[in-house]
């Protein structure tokens, strides 16, 4: 019983000493917020490509807003162009050399066939 009490007192003293050692050197108010900054945010984007199709044989010339990934074949079908396409029909519309940055900050692709 006595040995147990001595061990308990020694243990408690060691703990108090340890606590004191951990806190004493810097008696300042502790930082209240954690250091870790979790990251995570989402935002939608419309993914639209603005294309202007002009030229002879185009039934409905004008500007089209098509989703990114639309192929030249789909675009020309929309614009009613049935002639020989200078672009591969199954390739997606590319910005390439034909994209121009508008004053409104939007890229537009100009295609003349």
């Amino acid at each position: 019983m006595r040995a147990g009490l001595v061990k308990f007192i020694a243990g408690a003293a060691a703990l108090i000493l340890a606590g004191g050692a951990a806190l004493l050197p810097v008696l300042v108010p502790p930082r209240t917020d954690g250091l870790a900054v979790p990251a995570g945010q989402t935002a939608p984007f419309d993914g639209t490509l603005y294309v202007s199709v002009q030229g002879e044989g185009v039934a409905f010339p004008g500007s089209y807003a098509v989703p990114y990934g639309t192929t030249y074949g789909e675009l020309f079908a929309l614009a009613g162009f049935a002639g020989e396409s200078p672009y591969p029909p199954e390739a997606p519309v590319r910005m390439g050399q034909d994209a121009v940055l508008g004053r409104d900050g939007i890229w537009r692709v100009y295609i003349v066939v």
Binding site: G34, P38, F45, G47, M95, G96
Partner: protein, 723 residues
């Protein structure tokens, strides 16, 4: 033989499933409190206290006698208080570090030279009692120390009062997603870069005892040994590897044996064993030899500049010595737990120090897994000594594997074999070197003869490291993150420290392995995205990395640091880029490309047509001058100027700005910029902004670590990446 009552249990053998070790639980509670405070701030304190109260109520729900209830109550209270003390200690230490004022920009600095360290090209000067004189004429005294890196070998006396003008930067407690543990522990709040001649000595000072001993030892070694061997001996004895050849040191790192140059457990264990042997031979009593050995060990740690690894090893050694001398029952798990607790009490930020984590993991791994692995090996009739040393090496490698992968991005594939062969040899050579170097210090006239034997031994030891290039044996390219916990649980389930019956053990191990595999796949393979790119940044540079069907694309800031690029390539497991862009002026691109090519190959370098990048016949990389949209990273990109790129990332517009931007900018969905700029943000009206550098209240690599950006179904999402 009497059977335990518990033997009838289906799940475990013996009395209980695990042996209850109060010290281990207290150590885990203290560490847990520190980690909780890092994540949650002072909420952790209240949570710890609430959990202690809840745990104390448990015995009331399952009454099994009053005495047991009181015991559980007291221990739960102790655990809660220990956890709360950990949180409080962490909160106070970080608050103390951040209390020193933030200084940015050109100032004149005056301070007392406290430490001088060397690396291959620079000398680091650490100054205390610092006063900053701002251009406005204000004098700001700070308790934080400053570490100035001087190019060239500045020879300055320790203890001198020096002054210089420099561009000073303040370290935050967290930068680029990492806790700056070593800076906080060392109290280094500021950093500056200067040239050799910039420093003026105001008043000569006297170095302290430790500094003088260190200088004396260095002088003695370099006078009496060949330069390369002297540098190696000095690094082994004091942990200062700055005098060593950079390439040799890097090969030690690639081989996974550079830990021998950190004065740590191995060194202190050898010194302690030698001193203890001597004291026991002289039949000294514990009350005499304990303080003597402690004094020698403290002096030795002082000569090593009280480096964090030396302090850690010193504390561990002193605790173990006191436990042994005090006659406490020797239990290896308890010893490690006490040492862990003691080191964290000295400074709670050690919990975030890689070296500390590696030491604890290696020690715990050897204790928990070393025995079972050695037993397994002796079953296949390996000699006992070989089985035992293999058990030690394998268990240490297994336990440190996730930490090495997550902190350095790679580990050595040949490290296991090298450690088995090399470490015992170097340990033996170190023992001889320590004793003879000590004798040489006492008898300097005989130093030449005394140091001959260790010089020969060292030359034999390092021959294999000099002869083979270990860079090709690296494992990397993935990260563990929180899956490391599953890894350690699996190690524990496999070990002899849990008394499970074979069937439950097999089931537990299978489930844990399955969870680990699934977790690792989810953590490392971007699932659920159409495409992903990663932002990485450091003090040495910033980069955007995109993997696509055609290869790996890189967009980097100008003049990235070699260390930054090397770490990036190793961490991501990349040795080949299909396309590279440096968003910088042409002369900086010209300087950056060779740095990148040291660590990875590149197929194509894209440069802006207006950049006037010089043509050369001697390029190994194809250079393309682009004025319109070109194919990049699975999408299309266009240079808006030398430092700004617009990239159509599968329909999402991404504007990457690493410096000056043109006046007219396209609208974009995501802005990725080096630093926060309200005008830039207003000009391109992004839905999301992400910065490489510090940005108050915005997503940044600086505050969260590397970021992963993915797109799917018209949504861009940014999240912190594992590692």
């Amino acid at each position: 033989m009497k059977k335990f009552e518990g033997d009838a249990h289906l799940l475990y053998r013996g009395r209980r499933i695990v042996n209850f070790r109060p010290l281990l639980f207290l150590a885990i509670a203290f560490g847990g409190g520190i980690f909780a405070a890092y994540r949650l701030g002072m909420h952790a304190l209240w949570i710890a206290l609430a959990m202690a109260a809840a745990a104390a109520l448990l015995p009331l729900l399952f009454p099994s006698g009053r005495r047991a209830a009181v015991g559980v109550l007291l221990f739960a209270l102790a655990l809660g208080l220990t956890c709360a003390a950990g949180s409080l200690a962490f909160g106070m230490r970080t608050a103390d570090f951040e209390r020193s004022p933030v200084i940015e920009g050109e100032v004149v600095v005056a301070g007392t030279l406290e430490e001088v360290g060397r690396t291959e090209k620079t000398t680091s000067l650490t100054l205390g009692a610092v006063v900053f004189y701002t251009p406005e004429g204000e004098a700001i005294a700070s308790e934080g120390r400053i570490r100035a890196y001087a190019y060239g070998g500045a020879e300055l006396p320790l203890g001198a009062r020096v002054t210089f003008a420099a561009d000073v930067t303040s370290y935050d407690a967290v930068s680029y997603g990492r806790v700056n543990a070593s800076y906080i522990i060392d109290g280094v709040r500021y950093t500056a870069f200067l040239s050799d001649g910039d420093v003026t000595v105001l008043a000569e000072g006297t170095p302290d005892l430790f500094g003088m001993a260190n200088e004396y030892l260095r002088g003695l070694l370099f006078e009496n040994m060949e330069e390369g061997n002297a540098a190696l001996a000095f690094a082994l004895l004091t942990g200062n590897s700055g005098w060593m050849d950079g390439d040799v040191l890097q090969n030690f790192r690639y081989g996974g044996v550079a830990h021998i140059f950190a004065v740590s457990g191995m060194n202190f264990a050898i010194v302690y064993a030698a001193l203890l042997f001597l004291c026991k031979r002289l039949r000294l009593r514990a009350r005499i030899y304990v303080p003597v050995i402690a004094a020698v060990l403290i002096l030795y740690a002082g000569i090593c500049g009280f480096a964090p690894s030396a302090v850690r090893a010193l504390v561990m050694c002193l605790v173990l010595m006191l436990m042994e001398a005090g006659g406490f029952a020797y239990d290896r798990v308890n010893s490690v737990a006490v040492a862990f607790l003691a080191v964290l009490i000295v400074h709670p930020l050690y919990l975030f120090s890689v070296g500390f984590l590696l030491s604890v993991a290696a020690a715990a791994g050897i204790i928990v897994l070393g025995g079972p692995i050695a037993r397994l090996l002796s079953r296949i009739r390996l000699p006992r000594s070989l089985a035992s040393s293999l058990g030690v090496a394998v268990s240490a490698q297994v336990a440190t594997f996730p930490i090495l992968i997550d902190c350095f991005g790679y580990t050595s594939g040949i490290g296991l074999a090298l450690n088995i062969l090399f470490v015992p040899l170097v340990s033996a050579a170190y023992g001889v070197l320590f004793v003879l170097a000590l004798l040489a210090c006492i008898l300097p006239f005989a130093a030449g003869v005394l140091l001959l034997i260790p010089e020969f031994l060292l030359r034999v030891c390092i021959f294999p490291v000099l002869a083979v290039d270990f860079r090709f044996w690296l494992i990397g390219g993935f990260a563990f993150g929180s899956c490391a916990l599953l890894w350690y649980l699996l190690c524990w389930a496999l070990s002899g420290k849990i008394n499970l019956r074979p069937l439950p053990r097999a089931i537990a191990c299978t489930l844990l392995s399955a969870a680990l595999v699934v977790g690792m796949v989810f953590a490392n393979v971007p699932i659920g995205y159409e495409a992903v790119f990663t932002l990485v940044s450091d003090y040495g540079g910033s980069a955007l990395l995109v993997r696509h069907a055609g290869g790996v694309g890189l967009v980097a800031s100008g003049r990235p640091d070699g260390d930054f690029l090397e770490k990036l390539c190793l961490r991501e497991g990349i040795d080949h880029f299909s396309e590279v862009i440096f968003l910088a002026p042409a002369y900086e691109v010209n300087a950056s490309l060779p740095v990148l090519l040291q660590y990875a190959e590149a197929d194509v370098l894209y440069v802006s047509e207006e950049a006037e990048f010089p043509e050369s016949l001697f390029r190994t990389v194809e250079v393309r001058w682009e004025s319109a949209f070109f194919s990049f990273g699975g999408g299309e990109a266009v240079f808006l100027n030398e430092e700004t790129l617009y990239w159509n990332f599968g329909g999402a517009g991404v504007l990457i700005a690493m410096g000056e931007s043109p006046e007219r900018l396209p609208r974009c969905d995501l802005l990725v910029a080096e630093r926060e700029d309200a005008a830039l943000s207003a000009a391109c009206s992004p839905s999301l902004e992400v910065y490489f550098g510090p940005a108050e209240g915005k997503l940044s690599v600086y505050s969260s670590g590397s970021l992963q950006i993915g797109r799917k179904d018209g949504i861009i999402s940014v999240k912190g990446r594992v590692s």
